[in-house]
Symmetry: D2
Subunit: 328 residues, 4 copies
């Protein structure tokens, strides 16, 4: 993680707020960012609390989910970032949406009749289960880690009482955290399903461009006409900036007013991205910059003819000559 | 309600599936559509069940929330309509998001210290409560009608036991349904907050144009370029069709693929709307028509120069003459 | 030439008006259309007269230049077609802008010191002449064929008097017409320079589509804003119709009002072209169809995804189903 | 005339090349720029020579016609400016296209049977003549001033010989220049017809912005697709710059390649105009700046929301803050 920390805290390990408890998918994302050995993990009860922990100085960074292939944009994250003290995204991390089927020690796959799982998890594994464990019954859980905690607690007490289920679908990190026995790995119907997590920090910490970057924005439109959305998109198209994500959310004060959450290809220090942002600032009632950071997939943007930094610099030099009458 | 029912069921009252139980905001919407005296109310456990009740023939129509000023598009409704057996929207109904503060008989406003409310309801009334009942405590409820049911049950049993709360924030219809005593009406922080509900039915029942109509669509883009969204919006703009709502949702198979939920001004039988729909059908991989129906606000669309039905008919007549060499 | 003639004149040879006299480039174009053996050649004093000859029934067709690589659109032709009794273009013919250096019998290339040529011809051959006949002198002529006629006249009279020039740059057909001796063929500085000629006729004679066609239009814009031109171009772009030529001409009543002369790829019977034309008819104050005819270069248009006739037919069928409630 | 001249020539009167001879409409334009008392008038045989006189240092400025309501862009002027040593337009002047009917002393309007006039002049006065002098005969002249010169010459010689005409349609300044007797003023069919003239000079002399300025450009498109023209126009539209004139001319090397001559509202020192020009420079293969100068009609541009210089400066300040992490 290339982001810096305050001068005087140089030797203090970085503190990461995240959606806890231990064992969640968010923790899996956090582990890609900083190992528990070198950082302080601060589990929070919800996304807004994790983000606010950064605003309040309790944490240096927050790691939160921002988009999933199944659910789309994570409303709580988008809304927390769109208002309040400005924060920026410093990095993105992709985590596959794959579960581990786990149980107490001694239980074999063939013994499993009842599986505890959060309803979302169950839905995402239904076809896998129908194929590998036909006839198995769903026992709803209140979170992805709740059944893991129950299994761990029971084991700790040496309890033999029936928990009402034989195994559970849990995020992979929960297996170690709760001392469970894995029965099957990478359980998922859609093997390409992923959740995108982001590392949130203060604006002073924009990571330098890598050549394969992404810039995230929140933009409100001047009115609710199709023309306003077209005009906003033209601000990007005219400078050759592609968008990799665009989502609308109601602004909340009246039906028909929308806020757009946008990922643009490129870094805020790219000339074409900078000019597009200035265009938005001029024409839209509200623009918030939410960071420029390396793309997790490391895909470099297609740079269209006439939109490289060199082209912008040459155009400005030419304009200067034209304005001073040195050429036409 | 102008929609028809099958010939042989002419004298049977229409059956409406909706998100129950009795007393919800959805019921308030349903009451605007058909009174309980002339229709059969079929409360369902969730939105998907209400919509499926129509697909399965158990209900003639479903009444479901589709958009709120606070939350935006209702995911469950949009997703249920976007796939599966085609259904269409027949009518929209706006319901203000305002609560009634209600209690058991004999409780006065001054006695209220603890209020049971669904967390969403609490959030939407926080400023009102801080002003009118400073220091009051929130007791979370699992739904908007749950505390009403508890109050009714206790009253029925003549119970004097403490329910853990003194009053509840409930949807206005719950007051009568559960025999409660209203302490305050129209409790809300944002008096213009509304939820938009729709009446869902079978495709054969498109309501005739009124001159102030709306057409709802689901459209997938050919790829994830800004250019594709621009091109899709141009299909509307070229024919002078304004959009009153556009929301994106992930398609769910990979990050970066989106489905757009769109409300266009006008009726599918309008020439300009028809040509725009044909344009979408030609260029987009997936288009689903979700109905044309009167706007609740009765606002007529701005018809731009050259985009009235008369203009389209004249243009076609001219083209016919040109093609047959009768003019140029 | 595939165009038809009136029923009762079936056995009469077609009459072609063209810019005369004999021996011009226009005659070279006409020869590609119909040989003098099978058609009546009616030379005219100018382009407007040739076009009016068709309007007045004196000729069946006119052959006139419409565009050159050097001069651009031929104003006289464009203006004559843009107003007055409607006529259409039936065919286009390309003629290379190459001259023959010709003289009276007995003159050799080495004898040539003074060359008669129309100033336009001289300009287009200057580099060739500087290379092959350095030091040669230009004797201006009033037309391309005038020096040829002088040479022929002198020869007919057996005159030996000095005409003031030794040779002339003439259009290739003038060599035979005036009985000259060619000294050099294909004289031209820019070997790819061509003039585009068109065959003009009555609207009832639109040639059938060949798959590599062109449609010519005259369009006035609603006002002089950049937005109006953008909106006009969008009428083509939305339907996937490319333009191969666009030229503006003042309308003539005030500065800043323009008429656009346009060549669109495709035939008026193509669905995408027809819908674009209807769009222009609806939004622009004036549209004149000037014909659909085979491209001289036989290049077939790029048909973008979703813009083939099949796509249009399928879209209309789908819309019909949607409107009648048979699907959504 | 606010343009400057070289330091060392400060006291030398400015020299103006223009399309002569004396008495032309161009001279009428030149008189609006500088009186013959304070400037040197250098009549030239054609427009190209007038422009080249500036390039060669023979003249300080050239005054040439650039556009007429009747003929459109003046090809010779546009082509001379589009290539060769860069020059810029410093000022524009409008001259009404109105003629004076003039004769030798002693001739009365009632005596006029035959009128000498350049064919263009005749065409532009036909209806006036039909109304005021029915039955009058046209005697073609080779230029607007030629018949004036003939009348003056005859008068100087005391000649009584018939010139073949009784009166002539001449530009107003020719009456004094040639000592003629005016019979009718402001002869014209279209009283709003004007010709636009420009003062041409060296690039170092750009006039300062007045708030009602025009910027003239020559732009080549990257290819001949409709898309390329649309993309070029978007460079202006995205920055809120309106176009008051756009004309296409063939580039001359092949059919289908065009150069666009454009007048944009605003001055090159305006932020929005500068950014649009940089956009053209980046995306188009060729852009030539032909000057920013006050509009003759003094009409100020419509400045769209978010496109004033203040908006641009604020947007750049915001971008700087975003890039340095001082805000988002």
């Amino acid at each position: 993680m290339s982001t810096s920390q305050p001068e005087d805290d140089r030797h203090r390990p970085l503190r990461y707020a995240y959606l806890g408890p231990a064992g969640t998918f968010t923790e899996a994302a956090l582990r890609q960012v900083a190992s528990p050995d070198e950082a302080v993990y601060l589990p929070q009860v919800d996304v807004a609390s994790a983000i606010d922990a950064v605003r309040e100085g309790v944490a240096d960074h927050a790691v939160v989910a921002i988009e999933s292939t199944v659910e789309g944009g994570v409303t709580a994250t988008l809304d927390s970032l769109a208002a309040g003290t400005p924060l920026v995204l410093l990095r993105e991390v992709l985590v596959p949406v794959q579960f581990t089927l786990a149980a107490a020690p001694g239980v074999a796959l063939g013994d499993v009749r009842r599986i505890s799982a959060h309803p979302h998890a169950w839905v995402q594994c239904r076809r896998w289960l129908a194929h590998h464990l036909p006839g198995v019954v769903h026992v709803p859980a209140t979170s992805n880690t709740a059944p893991a905690a129950l299994l761990a607690e029971a084991a700790a007490q040496g309890a033999t009482a029936d928990l009402g289920f034989d195994a559970a679908l849990v995020p992979p990190p929960a297996v170690d955290t709760y001392g469970l026995t894995p029965l099957a790995h990478e359980v998922a119907d859609n093997v390409s399903a992923v959740t995108r997590f982001v590392v949130v920090g203060h604006p002073g910490q924009i990571p330098p461009p890598t050549g394969a970057d992404k810039t995230t924005l929140v933009v409100h439109l001047p009115d609710n006409e199709a023309g306003a959305l077209l005009a906003m998109l033209e601000q990007f198209a005219t400078r050759g900036v592609n968008l990799s994500r665009i989502e609308s959310r109601p602004i909340g004060d009246a039906l028909g007013r929308y806020s757009f959450s946008i990922d643009a290809e490129g870094h805020v220090t790219d000339e074409r991205v900078g000019e597009a942002l200035m265009g938005l600032h001029r024409r839209c009632p509200y623009v918030r910059f939410l960071g420029s950071y390396p793309r997790a997939d490391a895909v470099r943007p297609t740079v269209h003819v006439g939109t490289s930094d060199t082209d912008f610099v040459a155009a400005r030099a030419w304009l200067d000559e034209v304005r001073t009458g040195r050429t036409s």
